[in-house]
């Protein structure tokens, strides 16, 4: 009798816990996305409305910034202005697309084989080398900015987009992320393939790539976010504005053009979200794969 009562109570508590945790998860999720919604609604408000809202910030008065979830007069004017009347925006947009593409392709060609080598082969100095890779990955950009500039200058690459592309191609971050994914491939499988006489290249292509696919994709989606939002590198190495990526356009619109800034952010974000949605499943599996160590 007592036992069943206890069980009932425990079940009740369990139910409650589940509901609470579900609410928690959903609540925090909404909270997490609130700034994004603010942004989206902001991009729909026109210049006049923004002006009114932002005034207190600029004039240092006692009033507050006004924020509505839905603007008084929703309009697509900001988008129209951005996409049709701001020629720089499109130039920078395509710069971003082009640079991201070059960087990601380069990272694929360079980083994936390197990650494979690190995770599958045991060679002398592997541990040390990999540690060096990790430290280099963590080192703040500012520390080597001048030295990098000197290298790029020596190659005659400064003030061309290659000055941003090449160093990013040889970033060690994707190596680190993909390495984890490849570690998940059982050693027996590789040994068996080797026994069957498969060449190293074949093993990499037939076994490594398909099994590591999700983690590779994940590393690239994360890499894309990184490249798409990169600020420091282009600012340091690209002097002429027509070469800049979109991320720099965003950092130069101040609160005075908040509507435009919101719309620009929304467009930038939309591209990221598109990529995100495209590779959603792989992304998650990939992140999973990079975290696992079997």
């Amino acid at each position: 009798m007592r036992d069943s009562n206890g069980r009932r109570i425990r079940m009740g508590i369990n139910m409650c816990l589940k509901i609470v945790s579900r609410c928690c998860v959903a609540g925090v999720g909404i909270l997490v996305c609130a700034p994004l919604l603010l942004l989206l609604s902001g991009s729909l408000a026109d210049g006049i409305e923004w002006n009114r809202r932002i005034q207190p910030l600029l004039r240092d008065s006692q009033e507050y910034i006004e924020w509505k979830w839905i603007p008084d007069y929703p309009t697509l004017e900001n988008y129209k202005e951005l996409l049709f009347y701001a020629p720089d925006f499109l130039v920078l947009f395509w710069n971003s697309v082009r640079m991201s593409f070059c960087i990601l392709t380069g990272q694929f060609l360079v980083g994936v084989p390197a990650a494979w080598a690190f995770s599958v082969y045991r060679f002398k100095g592997r541990g040390v080398l990999f540690s060096i890779y990790i430290v280099l990955m963590l080192l703040p950009f500012q520390t080597t900015m001048l030295a990098k500039y000197l290298v790029l200058d020596g190659m005659g690459l400064t003030d061309s987009q290659w000055a941003v592309i090449l160093p990013a191609v040889f970033s060690t971050v994707p190596v680190f992320l993909i390495y984890r994914g490849f570690q998940g491939i059982p050693g027996e499988l590789l040994e068996a393939a080797e026994m069957d006489g498969a060449g190293q290249w074949d093993i990499f292509r037939r076994i490594g790539l398909p099994l590591g696919e999700s983690s590779i994709t994940a590393a690239f989606v994360i890499g894309f976010f990184e490249v798409w939002n990169m600020v420091e590198e282009p600012l340091a190495f690209l002097k002429s504005m027509p070469l800049w990526p979109l991320s720099l356009f965003l950092s130069q619109v101040g609160p005075q053009q908040a509507g435009r800034a919101c719309a620009a952010s929304a467009v930038t974000l939309a591209v990221s979200l598109f990529v995100f949605g495209m590779f959603r499943d792989s992304l998650e599996q990939g992140i999973v794969a990079s975290a696992l160590k079997m």
């Binding site: 084989p113 082969y121 540690s131 090449l166 190596v175 950092s251």
Partner: protein, 289 residues
């Protein structure tokens, strides 16, 4: 017997060939990294012993100056504090969330919500910060006050908050992966043995997650350095004292032509990062065995 010898023979030849081929996998990356990352860093290391523009050898003087520099001290302390507060909070928060989500039957739709902030550009975040936390901002509207949250100690917590906001989803998914890998069998067995939820969490779940910890930690550390972008966009070269990060010092040294100090500072931080990551790796490897 004969056959086997033949096998081993070809195997040896192949092995050598394979070794060469293996190296080919690594070569492009190695060349590029040496050229674009290692070489510059080497140059920085060398130049940390010289004056930058006149090229005079000064031995360890630059290091001495850096260690005595009050701004560097403050920035290092702030960065350490940020890491010490931000990473544990992020790890704990995301683990808690991961556990909750793990318990829910169909968690997919929530997960994606959490992953969204990762894609938000830093410039946009800076704008949102200003709208939310400035003296006339949204938060003050709710509180009915006029406090510039970005201009005082609270800026640090805003920074931590935004760091967690941005990385929560990512870290959570990393944890989820670890959680999934724990076979239900062990947990069920523990239940049969009479272990409560709490007990089995500490005795089984946590130790099993240790494997994921290294990656999660390194990734979180990497992302913690990226929080500088928001600091820079909101506060410029001289932000509020508490969010004055190492990168700020490096940046300002750079602008003020103090490249010698910058070089010494870079080497110091690389040594610290190297030690930390080696220690962690060691710790992680030993736990594995």
């Amino acid at each position: 017997m004969k056959l086997r010898r033949h096998w081993s023979c070809t195997l040896r030849n192949r092995r050598e060939l394979r070794r060469a081929k293996r190296f080919l996998f690594l070569l492009p990356s190695l060349v590029g990294v040496s050229c674009f990352v290692l070489l510059p860093f080497g140059q920085v290391t060398v130049s940390s012993f010289f004056t930058v523009l006149t090229g005079k050898f000064v031995g360890l003087r630059n290091y001495g100056e850096v260690f005595q520099n009050a701004a560097f001290g403050l920035a290092a302390a702030n960065t350490a504090r940020f890491i010490a507060v931000g990473i544990p909070l992020l790890l704990a928060g995301s683990l808690g969330l991961a556990l909750m989500i793990h318990g829910i039957s169909k968690p997919d739709k929530y997960k994606y919500l959490y992953l969204l902030p990762m894609a938000v550009p830093a410039a946009t975040m800076a704008l949102v910060w200003k709208l939310l936390f400035s003296g006339q901002g949204f938060l003050n509207r709710i509180l009915g006050t006029h406090v510039d949250f970005l201009g005082q100690g609270s800026a640090f917590f805003i920074l931590v908050g935004s760091y967690i906001w941005k990385n929560l989803g990512y870290t959570m998914v990393l944890w989820l992966a670890g959680l999934k890998s724990i076979s239900d069998g062990i947990l069920d067995a523990a239940k049969v043995d009479g272990a409560g939820k709490v007990k089995s969490f500490f005795l089984i779940t946590l130790p099993c997650l240790k494997g994921s910890l290294f990656t999660i930690f390194v990734v979180s550390l990497l992302n913690s350095f990226k929080a500088f972008r928001e600091v820079w966009l909101v506060g410029g070269a001289y932000p509020q004292r508490d969010i004055y990060m190492l990168q700020n010092v490096f940046y300002n040294w750079y602008v003020n032509l103090e490249q010698d100090k910058l070089a010494a500072g870079a080497v110091i931080s690389a040594v610290i990062l190297g030690t930390v990551s080696l220690l962690l790796q060691r710790l992680w490897d030993s736990g594995d065995r």
